[in-house]
């Protein structure tokens, strides 16, 4: 099922820092969730095409038209950090 390495890998991808205890807890919890869902594996899906979408909809389009933008000042005001008209973020690598 879920190993401790899986949890560490997923945490890394999500940029989450987990304590040793948390890794233990999440390994168990994620394992239980997958185990619960695994009941679905018992179904024979041989002749069932993969489902692309749950709603019976297709070809939902909008026209290529420009509408109102947000006021940049309002958006930047809510950012944790900014510099002039830019968002400011920590170094990436």
């Amino acid at each position: 099922m879920i190993t401790r390495e899986d949890v560490e890998h997923v945490a890394l991808l999500a940029r989450l820092e987990l304590s040793e205890e948390e890794k233990q807890v999440y390994t168990e919890q994620l394992g239980k969730i997958l185990e619960y869902a695994s009941v679905l594996n018992e179904l024979d899906t041989e002749d069932v095409p993969p489902l692309a979408h749950v709603l019976p909809l297709q070809n939902i389009f909008r026209a290529d038209e420009v509408k109102a933008h947000l006021d940049p000042e309002t958006v930047l005001k809510h950012a944790p950090d900014r510099e002039g008209k830019h968002f400011r973020v920590p170094r990436l690598v």
Binding site: H53, E65, R91
Partner: protein, 483 residues
């Protein structure tokens, strides 16, 4: 690269020239103030719903048809998860297993004739925002983000690993740009980032069938840089193998200044995009009627136009190829030929003087100060003997610099060709008198000596003399002096 063979595939992204973004109504235009073209959808705020821009699908199908692809009957979007601040949602809406189109190709010219390069797939996705670093990405203290580009529609066009040299890769990229540019769906400007090229390259012993370990090269900002980066990387991989080393699968960045590729990620960071179907966007069912309707809007493409130029105008393959690099160059050429129906002469001027001055001044052909009508008029002035072919270049340059009509330049600068034998006679006599040695050489059968004398007369008349007339007058005068 003795004993080795390179295997190259390219991933090319083109930004589509739509008014609005792919999944929201924010403007997709380049060059606005930072973070001016943003809305809750492209910022990835909670609870928003992306809705697909119909024109993106139309443009995508147009590109797919121009690249000889099969357009899917059923297509869908997927989420590609990755954590990077240029995409505020932490995922990019892209297409994974059911792309818009597959199985296409285009043809390039190589030293050994035409070669078909396969196109694996064409898919739609959203662009990411623009990051601004102080210095390089690894040394900057922090980065700035502009989300204007986030959500601008992109097509990703993936080739088969069919190219065997940097030159073939460059020819493919240039041909693809021509085709896409002809369809009118993108500006395809590498310098503005509306066309971006990533290259996958590996090497293997010549003649073998398997693939070596590949590296991916990013950050090539011109077609020339693409060829240089590939040439460097191929040599680097061969050296590593020759020294008994192993190629590491990694992403490398091209350093234009140093002329080297550098490893972008020090340790192997396994990509784990965890693609899954995008639940916010219903799938596409693309009818054949729609595809055919779009096919009818396709303009004449570069290869067809090139063929026509060879057939209809009798141009050499080289000329026809150069003139169909962009739609605008071809349009200019054709406008001029309609007024001055000697295609090869027009071709020489468009590829020669015009291209030279456009390049030197970094001007687009559509903004050329010399219009096709003016070039045609200039060429007629040469034919009717008003000016010499040599002077025409001077006139053309003046036209280019001032935008004036050729007649105006010729009159203002007194460049009308001297075709009056009486007016030239004195100069001819003077040149003969001043060059007795050359005249003697000519009399002894050195035909080249006459060329020198013609040159002297042209110099004396500042290029205005009619060369055929000068030729005749010189011969006559020299013959007469014998009697």
């Amino acid at each position: 690269m003795k004993g080795y063979e390179a295997v190259i595939g390219l991933e090319i992204h083109v930004e589509l020239k739509t008014a609005s973004k792919i999944f929201c109504s924010s403007s997709a235009h380049f060059g606005a103030e930072p973070n001016a073209n943003i809305c809750p959808v492209c910022l990835g705020l909670p609870g928003v719903l992306p809705v697909l821009n119909k024109r993106v699908v139309e443009y995508g199908i147009r590109a797919a048809l121009a690249l000889n692809c099969e357009v899917a009957r059923f297509s869908k979007f997927d989420r590609k998860n990755y954590y990077y601040p240029d995409l505020p949602k932490n995922y990019q809406i892209s297409q994974y297993d059911l792309p818009l189109a597959q199985h296409g190709y285009l043809e390039i010219d190589t030293g050994n004739g035409r070669k078909r390069i396969g196109i694996t797939r064409v898919h739609m996705e959203e662009d990411a925002g623009k990051l601004v670093h102080q210095g390089t990405v690894t040394t900057t203290p922090y980065s700035l983000v502009d989300y204007n580009r986030t959500g601008v529609p992109l097509l990703e066009i993936v080739s088969e690993p069919d190219m065997r040299s940097p030159e073939e890769a460059r020819a493919y990229a240039e041909k693809l740009r021509s085709i896409i540019q002809f369809t009118g769906i993108s500006d395809c400007k590498m310098e503005e980032g509306s066309l971006r090229v990533d290259a996958n390259v590996s090497v293997r012993p010549a003649g073998s069938q398997g693939f070596g370990v590949k590296t991916e090269i990013k950050n090539v900002n011109s077609f020339r840089a693409l060829a240089r980066a590939l040439a460097y990387e191929i040599e680097r991989q061969i050296s590593v193998l020759e020294e008994g080393g192993r190629i590491v699968q990694e992403t490398r960045t091209w350093d234009e200044g140093k002329g080297v590729t550098l490893s972008l990620r020090s340790k192997e960071e396994a990509h784990d995009y965890r693609y899954f179907p995008e639940p916010d966007l219903p799938p596409l069912v693309i009818s054949r009627e729609w595809v055919e309707e779009i096919r009818r809007t396709l303009p004449e493409l570069p290869d067809a136009r090139r063929e026509r130029y060879m057939k209809e105008y009798g141009l050499p393959a080289y000329d026809a190829g150069v003139l169909t690099t962009t739609r605008e160059i071809g349009d200019y050429f054709e406008s001029c030929v309609r007024l001055y129906p000697r295609p090869k002469t027009v071709s020489n001027w468009v590829m020669g003087e015009l291209a030279r001055l456009l390049n030197a001044t970094n001007t687009e052909i559509t903004a050329s100060p010399v219009k096709p009508e003016q070039l045609a008029t200039l060429l007629k002035l040469i034919d009717d003997g008003t000016i010499s072919g040599k002077i025409a270049k001077t006139v053309f340059e003046e036209m280019f610099n001032t935008g004036k009509d050729p007649q105006a330049v010729v009159e203002e600068q007194g460049l009308v060709q001297i075709t009056d034998a009486a007016a030239l006679k004195a100069v001819v006599e003077k040149v003969i008198a001043a060059n007795p040695k050359v005249v003697a050489d000519f009399k002894q059968g050195k035909d080249k000596a006459l060329g020198f004398l013609v040159g002297q007369v042209m110099k004396e008349t500042r290029g205005k003399a009619n060369p055929q007339l000068v030729n005749r007058l010189l011969k006559e005068s020299i013959a007469n002096s014998d009697n």
